[in-house]
């Protein structure tokens, strides 16, 4: 139960990954990271803005977290691979959260490009965590090419719709032996708990925390939710039944009404 999360030879005590996008300030981001207990946070790679105030890299270094660079905004395997290589240069890490987007409105992954990029990056020595659909077959193919984990979506990025197909998430858990990190769609704490109850090894939350009215409080809620879900999963839930099963025995039940 207290077993660590293992991804690509690394160990994490926390099973909550945090996205850094959408926080109104770096101060709030730092406070949310502390409240979440997260040890692994995502960053994007964008053009240097000489007028930018404060350094995200410095804030994250001070927080003592490991960086998980993403390839957000990439639409082809080629762009994603180049972005991963630039991130490796910038952050001196071989970790990459691989995103290859196939549709602007839903931000759903482009499966063939994703698989191609994953294969290429694994061959180049990267520890690849692909953002994928909730398709168990695609998850298995990604694991087969050597991805260190799979990150299926619960619902579209930033939608807060939770886990729309819990059966598929459970099937993905059965389809692969690498860690399953539920990514995208988390809206509130119960979504994170459900992910863990379904057998996910970790949960990634971004917008759900960053765009909450009180991000620091929501970070705390997510931490507790992931722990609760993990506890419940490992405790083993009771089966669902249509009819009641009395939790109190009828043995020794007195006769209280007067026979007529």
């Amino acid at each position: 139960m207290s077993e660590a999360l293992r991804i690509g030879g690394r160990e994490y005590r926390s099973r909550l990954l945090l996205g850094t996008g959408g926080f109104p300030s770096l101060e709030l981001l730092a406070a949310a990271i502390a409240a979440s207990g997260s040890e692994l946070v995502t960053v994007a790679l964008r053009r240097v803005d000489p007028s930018a105030r404060g350094s995200l890299v410095d804030v994250l270094a001070a927080a003592g977290v490991e960086l998980l660079p993403n390839t957000a905004g990439c639409h082809t395997a080629r762009d994603a691979v180049l972005t991963a290589k630039l991130a490796r240069e910038a952050f001196a890490t071989d970790l990459v959260k691989l995103e290859v987007i196939g549709d602007e409105d839903t931000l759903l992954p482009d499966a063939p490009e994703l698989l191609r990029a994953a294969e290429e990056l694994v061959d180049d020595g990267f520890v690849v965590l692909p953002y994928t659909t909730d398709d168990p077959v695609l998850a298995r193919r990604l694991a087969d090419v050597g991805c260190a984990a799979v990150m299926p979506l619960g619902s579209p990025i930033g939608s807060g719709m939770g886990i729309r197909n819990p059966y598929n998430i459970a099937l993905i858990r059965e389809a692969v032996t690498v860690p399953v990190v539920l990514d995208a769609g988390i809206g509130t704490a119960s979504d994170a708990t459900l992910a863990m109850e379904l057998g996910c090894d970790a949960v990634m939350a971004a917008s759900a925390v960053a765009r909450a009215r009180d991000p620091v409080r929501m970070a705390r809620a997510m931490r507790a939710a992931v722990e609760a879900g993990r506890l419940a999963r490992t405790a083993g839930r009771i089966p669902r039944r249509l009819y009641a099963t009395a939790s109190t025995s009828n043995e020794g039940l007195p006769t209280l009404s007067i026979p007529t």
Partner: protein, 67 residues
């Protein structure tokens, strides 16, 4: 014309990547910075020696908050 982060720039052919970084106020040991020229990564240890050609497209990137 050399394009720096998508903008026309007064960077000249023959300048090194290091020179471009200093134009942006970045030191050579700046944390969290990566450079691509014409769609290829220029590794940190090549910043001093890599010289830009005519019409080079230079991208200087760093960490940004994101998903």
């Amino acid at each position: 014309m050399i394009l720096l982060n998508g903008q026309d720039s007064d960077v000249r052919a023959g300048e090194t990547v290091s020179a471009v970084l200093s134009r942006l106020g970045l030191a050579e040991d700046a944390r969290g910075v990566a450079v691509a020229v014409d769609g290829e990564v220029v590794p940190r240890d090549g910043w001093r020696s890599f010289t830009l050609g005519e019409d080079a497209r230079v991208e200087v990137l760093t960490a940004m908050q994101g998903g």
